[in-house]
């Protein structure tokens, strides 16, 4: 852009050239942004349409009326109320467990030294580089043997385990930046390690808790592969992503219902995102810096 403005300089008065260039940038950004959001706006409009309207009015973004029938059908007959609840349980459960377990491990790994610490750190580092995502079958078998198959616990525990190593490193790095004095003061006051962790260290790590929490919530709201495999025998345990996928198979002509189901799945996480977008983006950016 700056290049464009520069080449205009000799022809036009400086201010006018820059102003026009800036407007052009905004026009392009808004136009592309609209196209970028179009699929979401389109499915939102589709969720209010009647089947006939959905068929005939093609790409239009404005439904003729705000018809809520599709939502009623998806929520009740389509079981989206159940899927919604399951997704909340999984996303909140995994997020809390990952925050708790990885901050605990990160704390002792960064602030205490004990026999075996190097072994643990080395093993964790090795795990970061081994390929993940190819071990679903033994995981499935293990979950079955533990008697957890077709429970939400299986999804929660497997996804928690998957998030622990990376986030423990994040917490380790964060705790390492906190000076020893504060912690030592607490220990002198007679606090033991759990008290120091819970009342002193964890509160100080709030920014990292927020980062890990948002990222985990987003990932687990959207998780597909693990819940797909672990709830295959029990449709009442499906999460929104899995439920929506199966709903398409079962309602291959009910596109307006599917649209309503898609909106129910997407809107909550979008709302969370737009309210907390600064933190979301900082969380993502933090992952590349750390």
């Amino acid at each position: 852009m700056a290049v464009e403005a520069r080449t205009m300089k000799p022809i036009m008065p400086k201010v006018l050239g820059k102003g026009l260039g800036r407007i052009a940038v905004h026009v392009i950004l808004i136009g592309l942004g609209f196209l970028y959001m179009y699929p979401f706006l389109w499915v939102l409009a589709g969720s209010f349409k009647t089947p006939g309207e959905f068929f005939s009015s093609g790409l239009s973004l404005i439904p003729r009326q705000l018809n809520l029938k599709n939502y009623v059908y998806a929520w009740n007959a389509g079981n989206f109320s159940t899927y919604f609840l399951n997704t909340v349980v999984v996303a909140v459960g995994v997020t809390l467990l990952v925050i708790l377990f990885s901050s605990m491990a990160g704390y002792v790994l960064s602030k205490t030294s004990f026999p075996g610490k190097k072994v643990v750190l080395g093993a964790m580092l090795a795990l970061m580089f081994l390929p993940a995502g190819y071990t679903i079958i033994p995981t499935f078998e293990l979950v079955q043997r533990l008697g957890l198959l077709n429970t939400l616990w299986s999804v929660i525990l497997v996804q928690t385990a998957g998030g622990l190593v990376f986030n423990t490193f994040l917490f380790m790095g964060y705790f390492a930046t906190i000076g020893k004095e504060i912690e030592e003061a607490a220990l002198v006051d007679g606090a033991n390690l759990p008290t120091t962790y819970w009342h002193v260290m964890l509160p100080m790590a709030k920014p990292m808790v927020a980062t890990v929490g948002l990222f985990q919530f987003m990932q687990n709201w959207n998780s597909f592969w693990i819940p797909l495999v672990f709830t295959v025998g029990n449709p009442s345990l499906r999460t929104l992503a899995v439920g929506l996928y199966s709903f398409v198979g079962e309602n291959s002509t009910g596109w307006t219902y599917v649209s309503a189901g898609a909106v129910i799945s997407i809107v909550p996480i979008m709302v969370v995102f737009f309210f907390l977008q600064r933190y979301f983006i900082e969380a993502v950016a933090g992952a590349i810096k750390g």
Partner: protein, 352 residues
């Protein structure tokens, strides 16, 4: 089996607690809380990450439909079958096509957008950033469903628009035509995860010290020169990580393909992860019997290939970095003033 899990879960701790010197034993007792705090991590990761990795190697040696215990030992036969299965190599080719087409296009677009949005004088850049990032917060499965409807043959959708403006003469079955299925999935993939790379690039751009640009401007560098001789070299290290993550992420593509095409039509968009999924869970799609052993062998085979690529990339990066530091130290050692741009130019050559 329970025993195997335990040793996998707590590497070294039991051994350390029972063997070795009294001093170590005292250390262990003194740090009891540390071990307790590590326990959830060790147990969960041991059970659901380490054990499956080890066990999957064992499963590859059996014929097994996934019910009961694996009994028929076949040794390494599955690996030979996988390495000679044209369907596997088709899926392999599609996976790499997906990654090698998606990554350069997506990263170029993300970098251009990041450069535009990084301009501090641009009003509303946080709003634009949020808009372009928003597809990232939705799952590939949900996105796949929406896109399937938008592209689908039912009614007057994208095809209607393209017919109206005369770009096509007959409706195209975007996901049902073998020529279009994979390119369409790639296009949706580019749209879906571009936001990650946009934010990565923005973070990297913001970490470049402003003084560098000021110094370049004082030296008479124009916008292009500033980009070429300040931005590009400063972005290189983070850029390598971004490329890394993008390639690794796209080699594991699964949800989007499964939801949009199921790997079809006629395996035209089959990727390795859907190939494995079919053999393990929905064998009808590949006209075979469920064979978890075979699926695990294919998974391990692909996992090793991906790991090999990762290691090669790491080595290449390290090599490039060491060459770069040699080049950088040379003129400084000679006590010369580094000519503007000159050192960077020599610098850039080693990557190309």
């Amino acid at each position: 089996m329970a025993l195997r899990i335990d040793t996998a879960a707590v590497p070294g701790i039991e051994r350390l607690a029972t063997a070795v010197s009294p001093a170590t034993r005292r250390q262990v007792r003194k740090n009891l809380w540390s071990y307790i705090f590590l326990l959830p991590l060790l147990v969960l990761v041991g059970l659901f990450v380490v054990y499956p990795m080890v066990a999957s190697i064992n499963i590859t040696l059996y014929d097994w439909n996934g019910i009961g215990n694996p009994t028929r030992f076949v040794g390494l036969r599955h690996f030979f079958t996988v390495s000679r299965d044209p369907l596997f190599w088709n899926a392999f080719k599609n996976t790499f096509t997906y990654a090698l087409v998606l990554v350069p296009i997506q990263l170029t677009l993300a970098l251009i957008l990041a450069l535009v949005l990084n301009n501090p004088k641009l009003k509303g850049s946080t709003i634009y950033r949020a808009v372009y990032f928003s597809p990232v917060v939705t799952s590939a499965a949900m996105v796949g469903v929406v896109m399937t409807m938008l592209l689908g043959g039912v009614g007057d959708k994208l095809n209607g628009l393209l017919l109206d403006i005369g770009l096509i003469r007959a409706p195209i079955d975007w996901l049902g035509d073998p020529r279009f299925a994979l390119p369409v999935v790639i296009a949706v993939g580019i749209w879906h995860t571009l936001g990650y790379n946009l934010v990565y690039f923005l973070a990297a751009l913001q970490s470049i010290p402003k003084e560098l640009y000021e110094a370049a401007r004082v030296d008479g560098a124009n916008a292009f020169h500033q980009f070429r001789y300040v931005t590009v070299p400063m972005l290189r290290d983070v850029g390598v990580v971004i490329v890394f993550l993008a390639i690794l992420g796209s080699l594991q593509v699964f949800d989007l393909v499964l939801v949009m095409t199921g790997g079809g039509p006629y395996f035209a968009s089959e990727v390795v992860s859907t190939y494995i999924y079919h053999y393990a869970f929905t064998p009808a799609a590949v006209q075979a019997e469920a064979n978890v052993g075979y699926a695990s062998a294919a998974a391990l085979f692909m996992g090793l290939i991906v790991m090999g690529i990762t290691i090669m990339q790491l080595l290449a990066v390290r090599y490039a970095a060491s060459r770069r530091s040699e080049l950088k130290s040379a003129p400084a050692a000679a006590g010369e003033r580094v000519p503007r741009g000159g050192a960077y130019r020599g610098d850039g050559a080693d990557l190309n």
